[in-house]
Symmetry: D2
Subunit: 465 residues, 4 copies
């Protein structure tokens, strides 16, 4: 699944640092796993907002020269994999647009479920959209608000959105960090001397060129305004259950510092341990699918007191398989990236640990690679429940009919991928682990496993027809 | 050390395939770890040799268009990290030079110890060198030979070389694969239908776009001529002890299929097991330095029945730290590439497993990263003996005075890198493992650990003064 | 002046040709002199509009590959030098924007005088502008129109514009060619078999890869809809005097086929002849400033029966001096581009013929070059009246205070540029020639010479304060 | 012919200036017409020679950054169109090669007729050539000389060359400027304060960033050594008749300051005058083929007291037609570059003045363009004799069988190109003009018109078989 599901986007922001764009550059580099299509930074300088946002990796889009053209003490940055909107230059973020409140730079991690409806309404009222992103909608709503103050217009605009989102906005006077009331996507705050730093994942705070001190998560439903003069928080939304994306824990977040104030490594190990309890294999070698299965495999191996063995290696010279939005077969890519270690898998009962199965084609390839290297049997263990329903909250997933678990039972899937045995973590098992990690609180979104949506449910139902 | 020692070069060759250059491209991609500075392919077509060799990674230098300009059924390819010769366009290989036998394409993995002397002699006799590589020397010697036949001239030329080398040569009639009589560097042969394929490491044979069948190693001292008409082997050198590079086993080779007919994964695990025996740490978590320490760590953990834990992760978006020959501090790079997992190392006795310590600066950074993430104690275990003497046989090593182990005892090194304890594998231990893996035969070069050189010893002594 | 005034923009369009974008590419190449900053083509294919518009010359932006991504039988193209709007990627045209009538591609040659007012109104009504071009305004007006039909909305929108414009629009059903009611900017129509072709200058019809047959000018105030089904013309504007840009005749248009149905070569020669009558120099060599003074110099030399001599040559390897919008001094450029021929000018009374003086700095350099090559005296003759007032109708001119003729008499200018004598064509003389060429009709705009504006005069007066 | 014959190469050198490479850059820009394939600069700094030589125009190959990597007070530069040697990166000059005298940088304008023989001899004696240029030969001969001193080795080497050449060489101690004893190719010397400057054409001395004072031509057969300490001239060759290339006068040299101490504009005008005397056309318009026919047309028009008229214009946005060595039809290029002015040629007796006819295909196209624009009759006048024999002295000409005048009489050529009348300048006429210009001395090579070769005649005869 690590080869098939895409991170949605990554955000980074700085307030009050003389080299705001350079810090943002470094932060984005450590969020690069969240989006490899385009990268961008916008910075405020003397009331003007400069921006550079282009197709490419962070280190391809920026260099010393281009950062020098982004002076100023406040900046926001974005890495992107398109969840909606075509993959092209004009959709690269941050977007900078003129409004009646002055220029606004904006970057989004998430998915506005009612975007088509809002766009239609806005268009009927005269709006023209320069991009095909969801991001632009918020700016139009702000600009059209009758409110006199930016903060009021922002609140009014946000109240019209349904979906999952973290926004970073830059106005001439402040940086605005916003998290939707269900808190689907992560956003954390840190301090660096007198500056404030924001990032999708707290690992970015620990970049050696940054070293900011983690402070807290931006809260679900919080609108956090950070200006020179100080911070201010608004909570304009009615209280509602929190639904943090469980896939951030399972796969997306870098394991080092995690998201939603939880470390991902420990969670993945606990998931692996639970997976062993639910679906043990006695006497095999535990082989993680790199890199997504590593920590679950550690937990599985420890629970079963079995040897963890690197029977698959990954070629790291061309980056992720799925980087290219061009028409390259995903399966071919897996082939060229993963390679078995015959000495470890030959003649063995191999227990492959991966994080998910999406279409099944990748898993089928991987099982084939291991078998070709001489494994006597291949047991596939998946550290999440069957992925049977698309995500509408910021993860780029195939349509339901392409999800193998939407239409097939476990036995059929096992047959298709060619494993000798196949087992998934149960949904109850996942929820149990996540709830434990969160100190007993159930606050996770598991819609992709359950098919039950709690936000914009009516719209989603219609979309899936 | 994985951050400080460079793979020297990689070779790939094909005889008799209609898409020889495309196959070479794929083969080079799986040898990319052996050289990231330049990449090149030369192919024979109707008696002409076309070539493209440029600075950059394989996928940067070649695309469908440039491969189409390299038609023909026989090709050789090269990836390079400069061991000698400046890092620049003109030194990119294969070189193609005109000789009295017609054009010759040539690519080298290795190091000619008496290159300066040969160049001086040749220059005095009228030769002018177009590059600063060792590679060019062989062509000059061939061209100046009084022999009438290419094969004889080649033998005569090779007999003047002292050092470590695998050569691939392309003439209008054949591909020539050559390994020095001590067999310092690896070169393997495989079959693909009626074609022959050659590669520095047999992993390249298993690329999904190639799938050639491993046949054998080119033997030490063998000159293997492969033409349409068939193969022919010459063994013109006096028999001498074999000295296969032990560092190929310890670190350089991809673990999947190894080199010198040995799988590297098993060897590294055995080394790790031996390291445990020699220098156990009771009760810690075993953390490999990725990716170089992984298999030794597996062996160490299994021997000690301790948990193997991924307490360090590596960012893979910008390739290897040492790719850039420009003046970027290596240490900064390690910082930005490696990141600790606090949940795994905090409060723990961490046993870091790495393959070597070269200057000490990298290890010092890594120990610092782990400590900063909260490790209570850091035990550094190195899966090779102290690296105290430069390599003259194809590995790019610093000068002796920069090698921390050349001038410091283990305790001093421990103090410098900031570990609580430090232990190396003993030389006897390494030799024992390698000899076992080789079926009881001692056939390894360990000069970098012992300081004793068996080839061109007098010259080397002089160089080191 | 040829080094100081910029062509404003060039338009090309094709309806009904299977290779519409390739034809547009060739047409734009012969309109390249009208704009070297950016180039773009949009083409309709099965109801979708594809576009490529980037910074660079036509042959830099397009190649066989990029043209292949613009299939379809109807296309419009644009080359640009920014008259308004910053010089940047996002302002490159054609723009493609979604409207309630479907996607619209649009390209403009001209200048909307009331653009700031319209933008402010539109913005107050909720519009957000993606670019800083005038071009975008028309699309917003169309989209906001209450009219049901595109044609009606277009008319309604155009009626709100004040200024000088030729627009090419592409909708899913047709290409729309529009010329403002005063006809400031040129646009011509030609036939190519069953196809229709449009171009700013008819020279583009004669490109060897096009060879379309000139039909007529799009008339001032005409909205010409060309669809597969046929053509249709609307004339929704009240009749008003025609004001064709006289600078197109004096300098902008390529001399070969001219604009506004007039050949430019003959007009320039007639102007030169008139200049001789008004300001003869007896006994000198007539030296044109290449390339802008050539045809006026021919006329001047013929009228005076004096030798036309190429005493200045121009280096053509780096394109026009003013191409680069970066901060390169214009004067330095003239130096490096123009070079005198001492054998022709040394010891001579040199009569330099140029088309205009803008700031004076360029003329000063040129006089200096000729003098340094040994001219005994330098007589500067300008084939237009003093340029004393900015253009608001599509030519990129400096602000009034930078125009040397706005604040200085002829004698002061002569002194500044360092000529021995200086004379301009009189305004009466120019009008006389142009009127003659137009068959006795006075239909030219000469606002830049007279300071009198007939369109949007109140707005312009305010702008100039 | 301007579209079919290529300038051979351009040289520029500087001794003793703190910004030697920057000056060389500017000088090469004004010699760009002599070669557009590759550009290069080498500079000596503290005994080391740095070089950059790549495919592309001068301003494409160099920028502030790359010039900064070429420090030092002495530099040579080269622009190239390949006369021999494939068009590729490795043949770009200056070449820098190691010799027993230290590194030598070398650049050539010319053609070594006995290059194949020398290469064969050298190769038989052990030499290997890194490039396919003639240039490299001299370095091999120097390196192999038994002479102890560089100057002696250089003389010995040069004495073995037959052909036409100007060399600039850079050693650690001096710059060496060399002109072959017949003086086929031009090379001039100038002073800039205490520095010496060299250039193929003296126009380069007048670049506004250089402004060096013309001193003299390097003499035929002179070896001029310029070091910090002073200059020294050797004349080691036996005296022989001077044979300066007449085509430099006719077409190659920029008209501004000429070559061989003659101004080219005056010579071309004189040629045009002579052409009128030999082949007048009464009553037509004189239309030069731009830019090559301009000055001859001036002379022709003045002699005949006929109007000089710009009936053909040239598009200057993509540089010279023949820049690209790729397979673009030359004829198509002419089409897209030249455009007639109907107002000037329609209904007229047009006298087209061009400098030469090579294959005839270009002239045929040009006649067609003029005729299509309505000329009633087209009279083609060529300002040189029939070009009937290839050049072996530095001009890139087709093989004899491709030269239309080698196999056809004037009437046949006229018929082929489609002109109503055709006349060439007579050989006697050309020689008369050139001799007059040279103060009565006959010192020109006219081999391409006469078929008689005076240097290496035997070899050339063999080549032409």
């Amino acid at each position: 699944m690590s080869f098939e599901l895409r991170h949605e986007c990554g955000l980074f922001g700085v307030v009050g640092h003389p080299e705001a764009s350079r810090l943002t550059y470094h932060g984005l580099k450590w969020l690069q796993h969240r989006g490899q299509e385009s990268a961008g930074i916008a910075a405020v300088n003397n009331g003007a907002i400069n921006v550079r946002a282009e197709m490419g990796l962070v280190h391809e889009v920026f260099n010393a020269g281009s950062l020098a053209e982004l002076p100023g003490e406040t900046a926001i940055g974005h890495v992107r994999y398109s969840t909606t909107g075509a993959s092209c230059q004009k959709n690269a973020q941050p977007l900078v647009l003129p409004t009646k409140f002055g220029p606004v730079a904006i970057a989004l991690n998430g998915n506005i479920v009612n975007a088509p409806e809002l766009k239609e309404e806005l268009s009927a009222a005269g709006a023209i959209f320069a991009t095909t992103t969801d991001t632009e909608i918020l700016v139009h709503l702000i600009h059209r608000s009758c409110q006199r103050k930016f903060a009021d217009a922002l609140v009014e605009a946000l109240q019209q959105l349904e979906g999952a989102y973290c926004f970073l906005l830059l106005t001439q006077e402040a940086l605005w960090a916003i998290r939707d009331p269900a808190g689907y996507r992560p956003l954390a705050l840190a301090q660096l001397g007198l500056c404030e730093v924001l990032a999708s994942e707290s690992v970015a705070f620990h970049h050696p060129q940054i070293r900011a001190k983690y402070e807290r998560e931006v809260a679900p439903g919080e609108i956090l305004k950070i200006a020179r003069a100080g911070q201010e928080s608004l909570f304009p939304f009615p209280k509602q259950p929190v639904r943090e994306c469980s896939f951030e824990h399972i796969y997306f977040a870098r394991p080092n510092y995690g998201v939603f104030s939880q470390g991902a490594a420990k969670t993945r190990m606990a998931i692996g341990g639970r997976l062993w309890e639910e679906a043990p294999v006695e006497g095999g070698v535990i082989v993680p699918v790199p890199d997504s299965g590593i920590f679950a495999a550690m937990g599985y191996a420890q629970a079963g007191n079995l040897p963890l063995a690197f029977g698959l290696t990954r070629d790291h010279f061309t980056g992720r398989t799925f980087i290219s939005p061009k028409q390259v077969s995903r399966e071919q890519g897996v082939d060229q990236k993963l390679c078995a270690v015959p000495e470890i898998v030959a003649g063995q009962e191999v227990v492959l640990i991966d994080d998910s199965i999406v279409r099944g084609t990748t898993s089928r390839k991987i099982v084939g690679i291991v078998r070709a290297a001489g494994a006597s049997r291949v047991h596939l263990r998946i550290s999440s429940p069957p992925f049977c329903s698309p995500c509408f909250f910021g993860v780029d997933t195939p349509r339901r009919e392409e999800l193998i678990a939407a239409n097939n039972g476990v036995e059929q899937i096992r047959d298709y991928v060619g494993a000798d045995t196949l087992a998934y973590l149960s949904l109850a098992g996942l929820e149990n682990v996540l709830t434990n990690q969160a100190g007993g609180e159930h606050r996770h979104c598991t819609s992709c496993f359950s098919g039950q949506y709690f936000t914009a449910a009516a719209l989603i139902e219609e979309r899936m027809k």
